[in-house]
Symmetry: D2
């Protein structure tokens, strides 16, 4: 077992370590929140816009943003839209993503909105754009609004109020 100083020495060998340090220095409650560092804007009509800077930490080994990261961004934006619409945390029931173009450039912009709210099931959509305004994924999602204090057993691991 390496001690912390040895680990730090190893870690510094990675080209992405300085960026990782910046991320870790952020005051977000979760690591993923620090990694994504989403800038959230709520619009009218239960719409949400999230801007997120692209860093090399989000790359797959083709040096483009990993598709799972873009999916996570869309899930987060839709979960926030669902929360905004229902006033309650919700969990993802289903998520579908179509990949259109590689995630490249300076930032990603996710625009999510609520399509329908029927009882406890909230249906949403989200487009994610690159910094040239081109769509890179389209996503749809269904969410289930939790009752106060409801245990999430039997449901998704994503909460609408604080997915990151």
């Amino acid at each position: 077992m390496l001690d912390e100083e040895q680990l730090l020495k190893e870690a510094r060998n990675n080209p992405w370590f300085p960026e990782l340090l910046k991320i870790a220095a952020r005051r977000r409650p979760t690591f993923l929140g620090s990694l994504f560092d989403p800038q959230v804007e709520y619009l009218a009509n239960d719409s949400v816009v999230i801007r997120m800077k692209i860093t090399e930490l989000l790359y797959n080994n083709l040096q483009i943003v990993h598709g799972g990261i873009t999916a996570t961004l869309a899930d987060t934006a839709m979960g926030l839209a669902a929360y905004h619409a229902s006033g309650r945390p919700s969990v993802t029931l289903s998520l579908t993503v179509n990949y259109l173009q590689p995630g490249l450039g300076k930032e990603l912009v996710a625009k999510a909105s609520v399509v329908h709210r029927g009882g406890r099931v909230i249906t949403t959509r989200c487009d994610v754009f690159n910094d040239e305004g081109e769509i890179i994924i389209q996503a749809t999602g269904t969410f289930y609004a939790l009752k106060e204090g409801q245990i999430t057993d039997g449901l998704s691991s994503t909460s609408g109020d604080a997915t990151l």
Copy 2:
């Protein structure tokens, strides 16, 4: 702008920093590869099993694995299965995830397989289980096998040979 020593001091305030240091000390070419640290096993019939330890860095603020992370794991496992079946890198065209139970416990186990290979389009499925063997998500995905040297413009950001 903080210098590296100041950043390091800030970063150490995070409860998940020691774990982050362990991750960064790994010899994976990408940060996401180091974060997920997948243990990959190829089975017969173009099937792939990936085991991944759950750490607090993968949590959302409900202290369960973020649904986007589980989706990323499934996408990665299916991409590897597609690569194994076609012998070529491929990009994700579409991904659908159904969330069944929260991501909790010591590890996640993704089992992906190729359902059909038709020309350049490869269709896959993946179940992800918790360490008690319960299914927590089911996923399906379609992938597009790249020609040698093909630019990924117009397609997904996920490559089957090295998604992490």
Copy 3:
């Protein structure tokens, strides 16, 4: 407005009219039930198998079964599996289909099963095979179990107990 005898004369000009007459002569409560004429078998583990003969009435103009028909078959089989698991009618929340091969041959066989039941949300999967045992679509679906007497407002048009 043509009277019934004139309509009948026109209708007889269609090559598929004799088959249509056979379908209409069936004692199914709905037209779609008569058209599909599904042979349903319930298996253990909340699984359902539906066999359906392929007729020219199910063709698109390429002379293969229309993809929407195959999707309807899968939705029906999954709805029945959900009903079998929950004992209550349910409505489809989301449906995803991956198309693998054209619908050709003498019959289609849909095999659906319940993957998870969490509260009122039931998650299912279904593979549809041709008469050579080759998979032609894979589908996944989520269903929402209705309370007794619940109005379906805000939900899907598909009922698990009697989708056809």
Copy 4:
């Protein structure tokens, strides 16, 4: 084996037989085209609108339009949009539908558009509305443009130029 006159006598017992006769009297090349009788309008930007009257033949046994029928309508509209965009027939690779409200009223209106065209893969979306302008499903789909004369083996059973 019943002869045609006996079948006709049986068929007339069905409450939906007069409507079926009207459908069969239409001059559409396929039965499904006659059943749906879609009124297609091409808009700018590779968008397509299809209007379709609701008849009792499209009902499930809850007396609302079967969810598979609505999915078929959306698949057809997206296939036509893909055809319009690429100038070539295409087959459905994947289809996802979220069900929001039951299919009720006088007609359904599907509005489909092309989101992205990348090489031979065309990504689309479609909303279907009731006659009060309320959205009842949202759908997304990916299509694969065929080469001239390409056999559809290994692909879907849906063709973009003539799905009905």
